[in-house]
Symmetry: C2
Subunit: 371 residues, 2 copies
């Protein structure tokens, strides 16, 4: 059989991820191969972990990148902390809260799902009541940036509440990290994970993760073996820690890409980056409403980097989206779950969060709506 070289078409990536990647980050993925135990590579991996601590705003020792995509980060977070029979409280107001609940059930947990309508936050007082009803809960899980709805979940109040208890605070910030403020230490977050292909603007393939000392202690006290070998933190940390024990081969090229992507985040400055996302996303949200679109996330809790909106009745979102890709080379996302068939998800994430991209997108939308 004979297969041609794969040369991708030019796309402007303004969907829910992956986001556009800077050529220097792509170039880092093409550097020559080295071994995963090479002293040079171990130093680079240490630098990467330090940069992750910086963007997570944490001093957590156990901070690294899981060798898988954001969902592997979720599974690592849940499967290492939860044991069969544990009670786990999960906010479910979109696809990703639902996934945490599913993963926790597979780990043997009794899940208390705090369901809220899609597009609404999970209020802190609902968490407080649930915790009163289940004081023995092993953890409370919230999604910081719900990629399915564009909701920006407040975390600080719940963090303060849990800091007084034995319960861990688990946060999914796959779409949040480096796009909106996150203070892992100050907000008492114990387990937090992200993806690379959102506001970090690095290709998908790794999941940054961090565990507080409180979480590490819970893992050390486990009475059952973690159900996953690949994602077992105790084993993995012997590689990322001083011991450098072989566990599995790290994805070298992806680590070099993430290293370069994090370098760029630091060069811009984390707070400048948050402000850029806020400004650009706010602008888009203002203008898209002029096109009769309805924002689906509740006011006051909208992510600037990921906007979910419904078209007016009569607009065929699928056809419009397909023409956006084929005629304009712009990728946007369709709705998931409750929003399927009527919503779009527009990501202005990382390298994609620019005024020029907002202009180009609005211009293309206007052309398609007129056509």
């Amino acid at each position: 059989m004979s297969v041609a070289v794969a040369s991708p078409p030019e796309r402007l990536l303004l969907g829910p991820g992956p986001s556009p990647v800077h050529p220097e980050v792509l170039a880092a993925q093409a550097r020559s191969m080295v071994g995963h135990l090479d002293p040079w590579f171990l130093e680079v991996a240490d630098q990467m972990a330090d940069m992750l601590r910086h963007v997570f705003r944490t001093s957590n020792r156990l901070t690294y990148a899981v060798s898988g995509t954001g969902s592997a980060g979720m599974e690592t977070a849940v499967t290492n902390t939860v044991e069969p029979g544990d009670t786990v409280i999960v906010g479910v107001n979109g696809v990703f809260g639902g996934r945490i609940a599913d993963t926790a059930r597979r780990a043997g947990a009794d899940v208390v799902a705090l369901e809220e309508p899609w597009g609404r936050i999970v209020p802190a007082d609902r968490v407080a009541s649930a915790l009163k009803a289940h004081p023995q809960a092993k953890l409370v899980a919230l999604v910081h940036a719900e990629t399915s709805t564009g909701v920006h979940q407040p975390l600080e109040e719940v963090g303060a509440l849990l800091a007084e208890t034995e319960t861990l605070f688990l946060v999914d910030t796959v779409t949040g990290l480096a796009g909106v403020p996150l203070e892992v230490d100050a907000w008492h977050v114990d387990v937090v994970y992200s993806g690379t292909q959102k506001c970090l603007s690095v290709p998908p393939g790794l999941a940054p993760i961090s565990f507080s000392e409180k979480a590490e202690a819970v893992i050390e006290r486990r009475s059952s073996t973690v159900r996953s070998w690949y994602l077992d933190v105790e084993a993995v940390r012997r590689y990322w820690g001083a011991e450098r024990a072989y566990h599995h081969t790290a994805p070298i090229s992806a680590v070099l890409g993430l290293h370069e992507g994090l370098r760029r985040v630091l060069e811009e400055g984390l707070e400048t980056r948050w402000a850029r996302h806020a400004e650009v996303g706010g602008l888009f949200q203002e203008h898209i409403q002029d096109r009769d679109a309805t924002l689906l996330a509740q006011e006051g809790h909208r992510l600037p980097q990921l906007t979910s909106f419904a078209w007016p009745d009569g607009v065929d979102e699928g056809a419009l989206r397909s023409r956006m890709l084929h005629d304009h080379g712009i990728e946007v996302g369709g709705g998931l779950g409750d929003f399927k068939g009527r919503a779009w998800r527009v990501g202005l994430m990382g390298e994609g969060a620019t005024h020029a991209n907002v202009d180009r997108l609005l211009h293309a939308i206007d052309e398609l709506l007129e056509g």
Copy 2:
């Protein structure tokens, strides 16, 4: 904080992996980003799956690349087929058989470990006896190419035996694929996985995997949920199949790298590639014995692509290996487990399997031994 750009040193990778990567494969990883649901990318993913079928010598429909390294392939293979209480027979003659056993136990299996001394194969008659004692066994697992010992495990006889039964045949060919002959369909292998960073000469990060119809039927008949969400075949195959349902974001750059790597394997021809490994590895094994080294894999069952050998008493293998890296820029591997502290592992895999590399390595060894 400020971090410099990471520019890797030049290394000749002759350890147990990663192997050297061709510049065209590295370049493929630097192509511009596209979405994981982009029609163009889905076509590339289909081509990749077709090429995997070609190198696995299978027509299995369920053939794809797991979004993780070879160990994630192992976990996917085991965790989807095994249910709590199942009996699983595992050949354990090195590190990787031991890992399969560990993973199966975490999946709730009763493991029957067929232990053999490191460096020896697992004889087919041991499998036959174990199967007679445990006719209800869910699967038999063997490691085709034991990376810790250099043993080349025969598979054909066991495959023929299991084809007559309900028991599945699971094969780890992380270091085997594209280096030594493997006939997934003809040898009745039901579940098989590999890594990219060995004889395929692609950076680490993906795990090619394939399931026979017999294995698919076993998965469909499961009475319990798979313990992993990330690696759940039923969910993943809705993305790789016609449905294209979103499960997790595929690691785009890694898939483009693997696509290019497989293209190169096909261009060379699979059988030519097997022959090249056999010739180059055989040459090295002949010459290294002239240096008083003892090959650790039993005669007649030695992998050409991965040679494990012990130095004579008095040679400090660690110091020698470190000088090999620092003075000659050549990475070789140390022994694992039983062979730690006295053995080397030399990989002549993929792009690394050349006469020139054997010459360079032997020359460097001679210089170091004289020094």
